[in-house]
């Protein structure tokens, strides 16, 4: 396998691996130092599975006694009968890692969670603030030691290399940009590629135990062997390219977002609609004050009502444009409160703006008259949407298609309009289109096949003027091969009514019997 020399990457990535996250968290929760009190005895954290309790983590004494992650508790007890257990807390671990990812931004501008127990921090161009990358690592190690978390750290040009060094390299490993990563990492085990267990087992069976072993194999052979593995975690080639920086590896950065939240705890549980509406109006006013301080406007609002009998009722609202109008918010919620069953009463009401958008502060109108001058368009759309549903209030947008009924779609009214090719001016199109073309019964045909008299909706129409045909072929790349072409005609009947009719297919086109006629649109 021949490798091109890897271009030096300008990025620097710090990988933090909390090697024993669950045990550290358990110890911190009990206020114990390492090897002190309950931690001195063998202990395992367990989770319940279908086959009985299984160990997810064990402390140092437990590991020494033979308990390992992934073992059944019964097996571990036979090795070490005095093994103590505590329940594992995976949700708490995840929440802790999320908080840790935000906290780790003290070493770099953005960070990402590396499930299940790691954090990736981009430290490009910030190492000089700490006096160099080695000092940065030492600083981080000291701060984590003060938090009594055992971590392993590494800095490398890619997230993959940093992960590999943090998990399987020497402590506080540094991979400089001028180093050749393929050579420096060749001695790491194959598990350093962040592969799933099946793939690691497969590679072991193939005799590939170290990263350097992969370099000895021709790349085409590996491509052929793993050609069906699309996901990165199952394909060692993708992982190797990510590690060497040949393909980019996007990470999802963690951003700390604070959803504005206001609540009212009520002295007396309320059971009546008017009181509830007053509370919601108060909450809306509080929320508006909160949003105003941050120059935000709410797009989505969630109202939670906690009932005395231990139930929660939720209502959700989305508005068409960011709003900071308390009366508008309260009015929209008022319609949604109609079917709330208060039961024995509501004791706590909470309003949360889970989606906000920037909304600059605006000057209030000086004149009272301006306030009476009607509602804004966004408020009007909101009120229509809340009562009629989002599907009822829409606007037509063009779509690239030749078929008239496909050539327009309906979208939400205030969204941005995509640029599209404009309609051809020489195509006459009707003012209105029926949702389903209606069949017409041809009573009398002219020799060239056009209807002279036809019946539609129990009335007879005599065709006086005709223009056409405009032939529209089926979209063969999308439709079945038996779909027939359409010949459209603009017609005007004896009373001056103008319709758009088409003949579905041609006689003898081999796609069905005699062609039928349909009426699809009408002009004014």
């Amino acid at each position: 396998m021949s490798f091109m020399p890897t271009p030096p990457s300008s990025r620097r990535v710090l990988a933090i691996w909390c090697a024993r996250l669950s045990i550290d968290r358990w110890r911190l929760a009990h206020g114990l130092a390492e090897g002190e009190g309950a931690d001195a005895a063998p202990l395992a954290l367990i989770s319940e599975t279908a086959h009985g309790p299984r160990i997810t983590a064990a402390n140092a004494a437990g590991l020494a006694a033979g308990a390992q992650a992934g073992m059944m508790l019964a097996d571990a007890r036979t090795l070490c009968p005095q093994l103590a257990v505590a329940p594992a807390d995976p949700a708490g671990d995840l929440a802790f890692i999320e908080a840790l990812a935000v906290w780790a931004q003290r070493w770099g501008p953005w960070s990402a969670i590396d499930r299940p127990d790691g954090v990736i921090v981009d430290v490009t161009g910030v190492a000089h603030l700490f006096g160099g990358e080695a000092h940065l690592l030492a600083d981080a190690q000291a701060i984590f030691a003060r938090r009594r978390l055992s971590v392993r750290l590494a800095i490398a040009p890619t997230a993959g290399a940093a992960w590999a060094l943090a998990h399987h390299g020497p402590p506080r490993a540094l991979l400089h940009p001028e180093d050749d990563p393929a050579q420096r990492l060749a001695e790491l085990p194959i598990a350093a590629l962040r592969l799933d267990d099946d793939t690691i087992t497969l590679l072991r069976r193939l005799g590939l135990k170290r990263l350097g072993d992969l370099h000895g194999i021709h790349r085409d052979a590996l491509v052929r062997r793993f050609r069906n593995r699309r996901s990165a975690a199952a394909n060692p080639l993708i992982r190797m390219d990510q590690l060497l920086g040949r393909v980019p590896e996007p990470m999802l950065p963690v951003l700390a977002i604070e959803a504005p939240l206001v609540q009212r705890r009520l002295m007396e549980p309320i059971r009546h609609r008017e009181l509830l509406e007053r509370v919601v109006a108060d909450l809306a006013a509080d929320m508006v004050r909160l949003l105003e301080a941050k120059s935000l406007g709410a797009r989505r609002l969630e109202l939670g009502m906690w009932k005395v009998d231990g139930e929660v009722v939720g209502r959700r609202l989305e508005v068409a444009a960011p709003t900071r109008d308390a009366a508008h918010i309260a009015g929209l919620f008022g319609r949604k409160l109609e079917d709330v069953d208060a039961g024995f009463g509501i004791e706590l009401v909470r309003l949360r703006a889970s989606w906000t958008e920037p909304l600059a502060l605006a000057q209030r109108d000086f004149e009272a008259a301006a306030e009476n001058h009607g509602t804004s368009l966004a408020a009007c759309i909101d009120r229509l949407t809340v009562r009629l549903g989002a599907d009822a209030v829409r606007r037509p947008v063009p779509r690239a298609s030749h078929l008239p009924e496909r050539a327009q779609t309906w979208e939400e009214p205030l969204g941005p309009e995509k640029t599209a090719q404009t309609e051809f001016e020489f195509h006459a199109r009707p003012l209105k289109l029926l949702d389903r073309p209606e069949p017409i019964g041809v009573i009398y045909q002219t020799p060239d096949g056009l209807p002279r008299t036809f019946r539609w909706r129990d009335a007879s129409h005599e065709v006086v003027r005709v223009e056409g045909p405009e032939r529209i072929a089926p979209e063969w790349w999308r439709e079945r091969s038996t779909t027939r072409l359409r010949d459209y005609y603009r017609i005007e009947d004896q009373e001056g009514r103008r319709y758009w009719v088409y003949r579905n297919g041609l006689a003898g086109d081999g796609r069905g019997g005699m062609p039928e006629w349909f009426l699809q649109g009408m002009w004014g």
């Binding site: 009607g374 804004s376 009629l388 003012l431 949702d435 539609w456 009335a459 003027r465 001056g496 103008r498």
Partner: protein, 246 residues
Amino acid sequence: MPITNVADRPELISGADVLSPSRANEWQPGVSAIGPIHTEIFARADDAAGAAVSLAFAMDHLQAATPDPLADTPDERPWLWVQDREALRRTGRPYRAGLPRRLRHRLVHVAARTTEDALFALEEGLRCRELAFVIGEITGNPRALDMTASRRLGLAAERHGVPFWLVRLDFRRDLSSARQRWDVRAAPSPPPRWNPEAPGVPSWQAELFRARRHPPGRWTLRDDGALAAERGVSLDTLDLQHTLPC
């Protein structure tokens, strides 16, 4: 004798609102600077004449309106088209490529299930200051659309200055507070210059049978880029059966 609407209390009609008889007789659609703000158009449900006439009136209204001298952008306000379920089923949905070029990208369409929902949507639209005009299409004689509802809509339109055309499909002429009431049906179009066999510019036989400021009359309306009107039948020979009080 000015023609007044039964819905108007006498003191609401000021002298300026009533045209002198000579001017009133000269009036015809497409000529006055600004038309009335609340108009009803009666049409059949088997063609699109009602919607087309209301759009022609709306275009005429937009062209006649004097632009705001302080505005630096052209008037690009959206407009609202409300249809109840039966109107949608019988006369179809608006088709973007067939709408007037100036109005195409500004349409907000509301498909209401019931007449009550349609009336709610119309009133909300009339109370919105950012809409250029509102068109409604309602089929039949629903109980919800009575004199009170019609008056509500008319008052909202006048208060907020949003022009309003209500197309009533297959409708019996009952009480209403609209300022003008038209009965519209399709008319044979003039033959086009280049292809006499083809349908020409849209034409309608329009009868104004109730108006607040003008005597009733009949015109042939054409939408040839701008709204044009020809007086078809003179006032004297007006067919009595079309002017029955309602």
